[in-house]
């Protein structure tokens, strides 16, 4: 039964990880605007004609 000690530790670490992720998401402002991302996700990420190089592309979707 001593294995339960390990399981408890694992479960707590897991839960703390999720809590930490929640904090980070909160700090990034993920809960500030809950509508716009639902539209943004539908945009084509790839420019159709790649005439130009767009080095900053990824940055704008940070």
């Amino acid at each position: 039964m001593e294995v339960i000690f390990i399981l408890i530790a694992v479960s707590l670490i897991l839960a703390v990880t999720f809590l930490f992720l929640f904090f980070r998401a909160m700090k990034d402002g993920q809960f500030d605007d809950s509508y716009t991302p639902s539209i943004r996700i539908l945009f084509e990420n790839q420019p159709k004609k790649s005439k130009k190089d767009q080095p900053k592309k990824t940055k704008s979707y940070e």
């Binding site: 408890i8 809590l19 909160m26 500030d32 605007d33 509508y35 592309k57 704008s60």
Partner: protein
């Protein structure tokens, strides 16, 4: 690509979707209604951004009237202004958030977030669709703020920058802290429930005593973030209340938390028992949940606007015939300013030009422009219609006839005369009762068994902790807020609901609130009009944008306009037309050459003159808003009613006849008079509701217990207030007030419900019978049943008051 469909689509502007059958500019196979739209299209084509047109059809805005001057953004080069507008600035980059009212579709988001493709110096832009805001980050060495704004403007997305943007008040209203606290409480509570399992199931005994101890200690560790972090707001609030020698809802909560925590520590470490840590976690989790639920905000609406939200940030000043765009705060008395068509008068000023037409719809709600002559004083807040005018500034922008309102003391004390919320009044009695019961139980047991005495004392405090009690208010009010929102009545916060329930006096503004400019009553006096003359007038008014023309146009109904040989609108005078070689004039007295003063009183007159002969005139009076008399009659039973109006008293009798004889009318009220009127009512001990629409009501809205601003376009314009009401819901005002009273009853009923739980719990606790298991069942059960009760009851009432429609979808 869009399939080429019927001619109807082809004759629409590719950019803005406006029909352009007669005149258009075509580029390739696309048609544009104006140069502006074509220009935007060309910019987008050059930058490979035509996807803009594929996300939504004709997403742009017509650029026809976008012929404004290039130097209008010059003030952005002013360092002071730039500094105040920016969110953030370092050596390299600047961040700024713009409000762009035009944002309305997916294409808008896409284009605004792809600004970097047009100018590489803008490295990021992000849209918040609901708030219609975009945050732009740019490298200020390579592009100036002015150039960023000009770029947005050239795309048709001109940011709206007002005087209030300079104030930089609390910019981030999103309450991240409460959510974080809820997250922490949820995490701890969830894990504590798991570790409390051995208490509830006898099978867990198999794990052995060692595990049980470990679980108890883990519970203690997990309770620390809850007690010391998540609950911190309750301590501050309770402490503040006690310092003012008051007891609010948070005092018994804090008592409960302390009792829970200390008693559980004692149980776990001294007695070797399980303690009540999981119930403590549950308590705070539910409490915070209620708090978050109550904080429903309408992100698109702003309730705290003052005149600064409408005033421009910059004005054009003339110095020796040289135009210069300066920020408004640098404007001084004696300066000469130039105000163009559709621009706002920034300060009280004397008119230097021959004549002006000032539209005061922002201020009074009346949209028919008022003509002014040379030398007259013009109050700030009006909008010039027509030719550019010159003005000499008489007072600084913040000291004017209208803006002086905001210097009144009512605006300094931010809080209204505070009504004690129901919950606070009850919790005072509640706290003392519980404390005395606990003491009596302690004294009773002390003689027999000290440990039972301690247990009885603390468990009474624990079980009586007003979890259910304190949740009934936030959930009822939160629900009411949502139901009101569905009925297009938006409250600033939940506390307004309770204030709404206690009103006994309603004060209406007249123009724009009880009356509706769009509902004008029109009469024609003079020689009867032939069908042909009517058609001619119809054609004339159709070409004019003046509000009176629109009203006559509506009045004439659906008759076919003739084709006029020549038609011309003279701003501030009237419309001149030629038909079959006859000259028709429709407009003001001086324009038509009418003399004398023998016309029906009040309202506006529009005169008709054919070939120098005066045929007659239209008399236009603003009519009552639809349902106004129904609202007034509905309220007359329960409320004292007043009407405040800035107009002359000539409409008193007709209004009294149409509305109700019980109304108390007050005419010729200045903005400050209105404020003082409300103040006088308040001093008499009335609970006042002010319903108004213009900036001239702002003082009264602020002074009243509840101020409701009524508006046709909710996100558009409204002075600072406690609530914003969509004009189409005006008829439902009596329902809203009745519903607010009902939700107060619901709060009371759910208090009753939670008292039942408390009596049950306390009766067990005084006997020393309360166990962790019982506590763990009773606490959530009482909370959840109260939440369910309030939710069902408010929704039921909402349906009965026809604020929610069951089969809407």
């Amino acid at each position: 690509m869009h399939p080429v469909l019927p001619s109807e689509i082809q004759s629409k502007c590719y950019h803005c979707g406006e029909s352009c059958e007669q005149e258009f500019i075509s580029v390739e196979d696309k048609k544009f209604c104006c140069q502006g739209c074509k220009l935007v299209y060309e910019v987008l084509t050059q930058n490979d951004l035509c996807e803009y047109y594929e996300l939504d059809a004709n997403p742009g805005k017509s650029q026809k009237d976008n012929s404004r001057l290039k130097n209008r953004f010059d003030y952005l080069d002013d360092l002071d202004v730039g500094q105040k507008l920016l969110d953030f600035k370092n050596d390299l980059e600047s961040h700024i958030t713009f409000y762009i009212p035009l944002i309305h579709c997916a294409s808008c988001i896409w284009l605004l977030e792809n600004l970097f493709q047009i100018n590489k110096s803008i490295f990021s832009s992000r849209v918040d669709f609901i708030k219609k805001k975009v945050q732009v980050k740019f490298l200020h060495d390579q592009i100036s703020l002015k150039e960023v704004v000009s770029l947005l403007s050239s795309l048709g997305y001109e940011p709206k920058i007002n005087l209030s943007d300079l104030d930089h008040k609390s910019k981030n209203p999103v309450d991240r802290k409460t959510l974080t606290k809820l997250g922490v409480a949820g995490f701890c509570f969830g894990n504590m429930m798991l570790f409390s399992m051995p208490e509830y199931f006898s099978e867990a005994e198999l794990l052995g005593e060692g595990f049980k101890r470990l679980f108890d200690y883990l519970n203690v560790v997990l309770s620390l973030p809850i007690v010391f972090y998540s609950a911190s707001d309750y301590y501050t609030s309770a402490w503040n209340a006690i310092r003012q020698r008051k007891i609010n809802m948070d005092v018994p909560i804090v008592l409960g938390i302390i009792a829970f925590f200390l008693y559980s520590l004692w149980e776990i470490f001294v007695q070797g028992n399980a303690g009540y840590m999981d119930s403590l976690g549950g308590l705070l989790f539910f409490l915070l949940l209620g708090k978050v639920y109550q904080q429903k905000t309408f992100a698109t609406l702003e309730f705290d606007r003052d005149y600064k939200s409408y005033f421009p940030i910059a004005v054009t000043r003339l110095i020796q015939d040289r135009e210069e765009v300066i920020p408004l705060f640098k404007l001084q008395v004696g300066d000469v300013v130039l105000v163009r068509d559709e621009e706002l008068i920034p300060a009280d000023a004397l008119l230097l030009s021959d004549q002006a037409d000032i539209d005061y719809s922002f201020v009074t709600g009346e949209e028919v422009p008022i003509p002014k002559r040379k030398g007259e004083l013009i109050y700030a807040g009006g909008r010039q219609k027509g030719e550019p005018i010159l003005l000499t500034i008489q007072k600084s922008p913040s000291q004017g006839y209208l803006t002086d309102l905001w210097n009144n003391e009512s605006f300094e004390k931010s809080n209204k005369r505070l009504l004690e919320p129901l919950a606070n009044r009850i919790s005072g009695v509640f706290t003392w009762t519980v404390l005395s019961i606990a003491l009596v139980a302690f004294v009773f047991w002390m003689g027999k068994d000290l440990s039972i005495a301690v247990k009885a004392f603390t468990t009474v405090l624990i079980v009586a902790c007003p979890c259910a009690l304190s949740m009934s208010t936030p959930f009822t009010l939160g629900n009411t807020l949502r139901i009101f929102g569905k009925g297009k009545f938006y409250l600033k916060n939940a506390a307004v609901v309770e204030r709404l329930a206690l009103l006994d006096t309603v004060v209406f503004d007249k123009t724009g609130t009880l009356t509706d400019p769009a509902n004008a009553s029109i009469e024609y006096f003079g020689e009867p009009l032939s069908a042909e003359t009517k058609s001619i007038i119809k054609a004339m008014v159709a070409r004019s944008t003046h509000p009176l023309s629109n009203r006559i146009n509506l009045f004439l109904g659906k008759i076919h306009p003739v084709h006029l040989e020549k038609v011309q609108e003279l701003k501030g005078a009237g419309v001149l037309a030629v038909y079959k070689n006859q000259e028709f004039r429709l407009g003001s007295k001086s324009f038509t050459g009418v003399k004398g003063d023998h016309f029906s009183e009040g309202g506006n007159h529009v005169f008709l003159n054919v070939e120098g002969v005066n045929l007659g005139y239209f008399h236009i009076q603003s009519g009552l808003r639809n349902g106004a008399s129904k609202v007034v009659k509905g309220l007359a039973e329960n409320y004292e009613l007043h009407v405040l109006s800035g107009d002359h008293a000539h409409e008193r009798e007709s209004l009294a006849l149409q509305l109700s004889s019980e109304l108390k009318f007050n005419f010729e009220q200045s903005p400050t008079d209105k404020l003082n009127y409300l103040k006088a009512l308040n001093i008499k001990g009335k609970n006042t509701l002010m319903i108004g629409d213009g900036l001239n009501d702002a003082g009264a809205l602020q002074e009243s217990q509840v101020g409701i601003a009524i508006t046709d376009r909710v996100s558009h314009f409204s002075p600072a207030s406690d609530a914003i009401l969509d004009a189409e819901s005006f008829v439902r005002i009596p329902n809203f007030l009745a519903f607010a009273r009902n939700s107060r009853l619901i709060i009371k009923a759910s208090f009753g419900l939670s008292f039942l739980y408390n009596i049950l719990g306390i009766s067990l606790a005084v006997q020393g019978l309360l166990s962790p298991v019982l506590c763990a069942i009773l606490m959530p059960l009482s909370s959840i049943s109260v939440v369910v009760f309030t939710t069902l009851a408010t929704n039921f009432m909402g349906v009965r008051k026809s604020l929610i429609h069951l089969n809407k979808h």
